[in-house]
Point group: C2
Chain length 225, copies 2
């Protein structure tokens, strides 16, 4: 059976990617990187998804990117509401080199698992401006990965897959529902209040818009303001 | 003043790279990744080098790559002596995707520090077979890095520098001595016994050979067998 590593945050996109890769016949090893982000509710969401899809291998790695800083997700600075966000600049929820760090860890885990395919939930439509979600970046990471590891020296070809990269949030939700995802298990909010999504940040905005555009009821529990 | 991030393990090579970059006029931020390796004596070596060269910024990040495994440096398996090592296969001291993970963390740290140059001590001559020390790999990482971060979107060019990549260990030692390194501060051994180098592993072998070839007294304290 083909092996794949999935970067699983517990969010809407990465949960959909996991379901998609499983439906394509891959045996899945999930990797969750807990990087000191504010939205650590994601961790329990990731565990629910892993259980729901009967994933035998789930590796959780702790790496405190707050030590490096430079993001409102890891630092003690306020997360802006979506309305305060300027669409023309990279949002301060950007975490320096986050996808590069996570994909690097996935590359290591894939090598140990004998997997040559890595899937992650990068998406360019809804979240504008994250440089490490662009197709050119993903291709460059794949090129590098094919020179980086023992697997590549042994002649295996490493694939870095971002199957949602060009899909709208509504398309992702419809895809996930067709694959049996219960989105109440997933978590998107950048700044949750306990277990409740804030309903104000950009992640909540795009999630709400996605369910509305897909004409599907949003199962998320939002904080009442 | 130009800023640079140096990946500093506390070994002979990375310490030389730090001294070299400082001599070239860079203001240095050092990054040490403690990845659960057996040779954690390296950490105190890194601290000595940082003090010796008056480096104001030294970030230490813990990331337990033993959770991923696949290496005799992080797993509880015996480190082979140099004589047991087959030159035609990648040694089991290879850590899956190690340089990729470390360079990714350096990329994040560089972005926060406003640095566009990253130096590390990769070398192809003495340690044969590590895929992530090859010039083609380093170039591919640089290409990826130039698409990965906010800095690159803002028009800055990221340089990944491995100035020792083609030097022999003897050349590195002569260079370091000319730059004021006290190599008794540095540590290379994969499998130290307390603070003493084992004198048997490949890292010890190449270090000893380097000092011999350079016709310089080796200040390392080796374990007596």
């Amino acid at each position: 059976m083909k092996q794949a590593v999935i970067l699983l945050s517990g969010g809407l996109d990465s949960s959909t990617v996991l379901a998609l890769a499983q439906s394509q016949g891959f045996s899945i090893s999930a990797l969750t990187v807990f990087y000191g982000q504010r939205n650590h509710v994601e961790l329990s969401a990731a565990k629910k998804i892993v259980k729901h899809f009967n994933i035998a291998n789930h590796k959780i790695i702790e790496l405190d990117l707050g030590l490096i800083g430079g993001s409102s997700l890891t630092d003690k600075i306020r997360v802006k509401s979506h309305q305060e966000q300027d669409d023309n600049i990279i949002p301060d929820t950007y975490v320096p080199a986050r996808n590069t760090i996570m994909l690097s860890l996935a590359l290591a885990y894939a090598e140990v698992q004998g997997a040559y395919d890595i899937f992650f939930g990068a998406n360019i439509h809804d979240y504008s401006g994250y440089p490490d979600c662009r197709p050119a970046y993903i291709k460059a990471f794949q090129n590098m990965a094919n020179l980086a590891t023992k697997s590549s020296v042994e002649g295996h070809s490493i694939g870095i897959h971002a199957p949602l990269v060009n899909k709208s949030k509504a398309e992702i939700i419809k895809l996930g529902l067709s694959l049996g995802i219960d989105y109440s298990m997933t978590h998107s909010c950048y700044d949750p209040k306990g277990n409740r999504a804030c309903g104000q940040c950009s992640a909540c905005f795009y999630r709400q818009k996605g369910f509305a555009d897909a004409q599907v009821a949003d199962p998320t529990v939002y904080n009442e303001v």
